[in-house]
């Protein structure tokens, strides 16, 4: 294929800035397609893609499926609950059975970090990571960057705050890696129990003072918060979380500037973000959703659509 360095999209780790730029640029051309009355191009006609979802997902799966349909690919959806994974057919058998039916690409969401890389050992198809546990969610990172480009016309030098549960967020990791690659400054903000060790090695700042961070930032990307994960209570209460880290109307109004508000969804309104803020003019949350379809079209096009002369290139 040629235009991108890697054959799969397993994460934004190791993706050069030129490739991120290419994916975003192409996505903007697909955005125009989405604004047409007939929102379909024949780019992936004859290609077959399986959406392999081992974890519940609504928006990501629909977004990928729409992107595939807009590109005229044939798509099949496979969903399995993660609890049935441990017992039933092995991961390898599932993967190899699907591949045996002659498919070109697999879009996979899986609760275990590293599962997409694992998948590439068993299949020849192009693998696109739609979220692997608490590791990466590369298309989310790309669509967030595309949305920032749409708002600010650039990424280099932008000041981006990522707020909330960094430890358990694949969105945070892909955002951090992508934004740093593109020259943005990143500050992470959240309770110390939700900031992973050695994260500063990725070139980010860490702060526990939300008001200062918001004063500094051009945009804030707000992550969904859960009080409890697998029986561990990382924060004492939602009330205290809101008081320390909630994007409340009062907090936003107290700023003497415009702050761009982002959220990867699904939102807990009234928890990490107030409804008034989520619905305000500065929120680009629904633009993120639309850009999600465009960026996934771009990824599919570059990995599956271009003339495939890969290998000896």
């Amino acid at each position: 294929m040629g235009s991108l360095k890697n054959r799969h999209l397993l994460g934004l780790e190791g993706i050069p800035s030129e490739d991120i730029q290419t994916l975003i640029d192409t996505a903007f051309t697909f955005r125009e397609v989405l604004d047409r009355p007939i929102k379909k191009v024949p780019t992936l006609q004859g290609k077959t893609i399986v959406n392999l979802f081992f974890e519940a997902s609504t928006r990501t799966r629909i977004s990928f499926e729409l992107a595939q349909k807009r590109l005229s690919a044939d798509t099949v959806n496979f969903s399995a609950s993660s609890s049935s994974l441990k017992k039933g057919e092995s991961f390898k058998d599932t993967a190899q059975n699907i591949e045996a039916m002659k498919i070109d690409g697999i879009v996979m969401r899986h609760p275990v970090p590293g599962a997409p890389l694992h998948l590439t050992k068993f299949v020849d198809a192009v693998v696109i990571n739609a979220g692997d546990g608490t590791h990466e969610h590369p298309t989310q990172g790309l669509l967030d960057m595309m949305s920032l480009v749409e708002t600010f016309d650039k990424l280099d030098g932008l000041k981006i705050a990522i707020l909330g549960d960094i430890s358990h967020s694949r969105v945070a990791m892909s955002n951090i890696i992508g934004l740093k690659t593109m020259g943005a400054e990143v500050t992470l903000c959240g309770p110390p129990t939700l900031i992973p060790v050695n994260i500063d090695e990725l070139g980010v700042n860490v702060s526990y003072n939300l008001d200062e961070v918001l004063k500094w930032a051009d945009a804030v990307n707000i992550l969904r918060i859960q009080r409890e994960r697998q029986g561990v209570h990382y924060i004492p209460s939602i009330r205290e979380y809101r008081s320390l880290y909630g994007i409340t109307r009062e907090r936003v109004e107290a700023l003497d500037k415009e702050l761009t508000i982002m959220h990867p969804g699904p939102m807990n309104r009234g928890v990490e973000i107030d409804s008034d803020v989520a619905d305000s003019d500065n929120a680009i949350i629904l633009d993120q959703v639309l850009n999600g379809v465009a960026i996934r079209m771009s990824v599919l096009f570059h990995l599956l659509g271009e003339k495939q002369e890969k290998g000896e290139a």
Partner: protein, 429 residues
């Protein structure tokens, strides 16, 4: 691999004898009669005996592994006492102690007897370690006295830490009358939580839940304090962190009756190797940081950690082919042990004699086995080594029934050429 009965009398010639007990190294000969040591010396005159030319190999005591899982009874699809013994011989091990976390666990005199009886027919010396508590439940002590009589040589709930401090105290007190070590898998299970790998930069990068180093050292500290308090014998298995090393060093300085082991894989790998998400590197305790690995090398060099033990833990291909979080902990380690350890430690100014002591005399002394294997009349347990040989470890070197080894493809240093064990000579060339 070729196996032959030893001749009634045989003189091993053309070898360098490495005596890890007397701490001597010399060009010499060994005379075996009826499978026992008759003489070890520079030149032995014996007429009418067969001669075995060692081709210049280093001949030393057969290695002793005090920490292996042979999965029998219960998971004979992963390993049996017979296949595990073959893996041991391929690694130069002629004595192995097997852990009790079988199904059912080795928690009764009857189950110990089952292993002891089967061990009579094996090609190695094999001894069972009994469970400390019934069903490894961490609560009621097993019949240690009866189990010692049946053949148990140490006690451990391996894999499962003894969480209850009172049970640990009682076990350490009670076991003093039999002079056997208690081996406790040192881990604070709450601090481990759902951890999958060492907590640090790599767990953050890979998105895998971290296991902090203090989850080990906190339990090591407790065990050392209880051991000091009771006068019991504690042995710390598979030490993996710098903090644990500090704790052990301090306790030894204070005269606490303790010993410790390190695995070849904790000397060899650091957690950056997990970048491939190779499930064969998923072990408990986890592969730690580079600083921890260096601390382990320091600890085995200066004697803070007494010996090397493999924690040979076979698992099926399908279990290890599953995504990282679902794969069980453990790797096989017998076949690759010497090549991995000698590669790592020969770089660090340790002599072959020092390294061999950590595989022979030291582990035997921890359990209380006779460690002067060149004494006249000792049953011949010998390993022939080519220490300078560099070789790539491959699936063809694995004799275990399982093949979950991250050493496959690694260039190792030092090869086992042949082994004398239980009246047989087994050659791998």
């Amino acid at each position: 691999m070729k196996t032959k009965q030893l001749p009634k009398s045989v003189k091993i010639t053309n070898c360098t004898i490495l005596d890890p007990f007397a701490e001597k190294e010399f060009a010499g000969e060994i005379l075996l009669k009826n499978g026992k040591i008759n003489d070890v010396g520079k030149s032995i005159s014996a007429d009418g005996v067969d001669e075995l030319d060692a081709n210049g190999a280093v001949v030393t005591h057969g290695f002793c592994d005090i920490h292996a899982h042979f999965r029998e009874p219960g998971r004979e699809d992963k390993e049996t006492l017979v296949t595990g013994s073959r893996a041991a011989l391929a690694g130069g091990f002629t004595t192995v102690c097997v852990m009790p976390n079988t199904n059912p666990p080795l928690d009764s005199p009857e189950s110990i007897r089952f292993i002891a009886e089967k061990a009579e027919d094996l090609s190695i010396q094999l001894y069972p370690i009994g469970a400390v508590t019934v069903g490894q439940n961490g609560k009621e002590m097993t019949e240690m006295g009866e189990m010692v009589k049946a053949g148990a040589v140490a006690f451990s709930d391996d894999g499962i830490p003894i969480i209850d401090g009172e049970v640990m105290r009682l076990a350490l007190e009670y076991s003093t009358q039999f002079d056997v070590p208690i081996i406790n898998h040192a881990e604070d299970v709450d601090l481990r939580g759902s951890g999958q790998m060492n907590e640090g930069r790599w767990s953050t990068r890979l998105g895998l839940a971290g296991i902090p180093d203090v989850s080990e050292s906190i339990m090591v500290e407790r065990d050392l304090q209880v051991a000091g308090f009771t006068g019991g014998r504690i042995h710390v298995p598979h030490v993996s962190t710098e903090k644990s090393v500090h704790a052990i060093r301090r306790a030894k300085e204070n005269g606490v009756n303790i010993s410790a082991e390190v695995t070849p894989h904790h000397l060899y790998f650091d957690d950056s190797a997990l970048q491939t998400y190779d499930t064969n590197l998923k072990v408990a305790p986890p592969i730690r940081s580079e600083a921890d690995r260096e601390a382990m090398i320091g600890a085995i060099s200066d004697g803070t950690v007494n010996c090397i033990a493999t924690d040979h833990a076979p698992h099926t291909v399908e279990e290890k082919e599953s995504p990282f979080e679902y794969a069980p902990c453990g790797m096989i380690g017998l076949e690759s042990a010497f090549g991995a350890v000698w590669k790592m430690l020969s770089d660090k100014k340790m002599s072959l004699l020092d390294v061999v002591r950590k595989l022979t005399v030291m582990p035997r002394q921890i359990i209380g086995f006779d460690s002067d294997l060149f004494a006249k009349g000792a049953e011949a347990e010998l390993v022939f080594l080519n220490p300078d040989q560099e070789w790539t470890f491959g699936l063809e070197h694995i004799r275990s029934k399982s093949r979950n080894s991250p050493f496959v493809g690694e260039m190792l240093k030092g090869q086992v050429v042949s082994v004398v064990s239980r009246g047989q000579i087994i050659s791998f060339k």
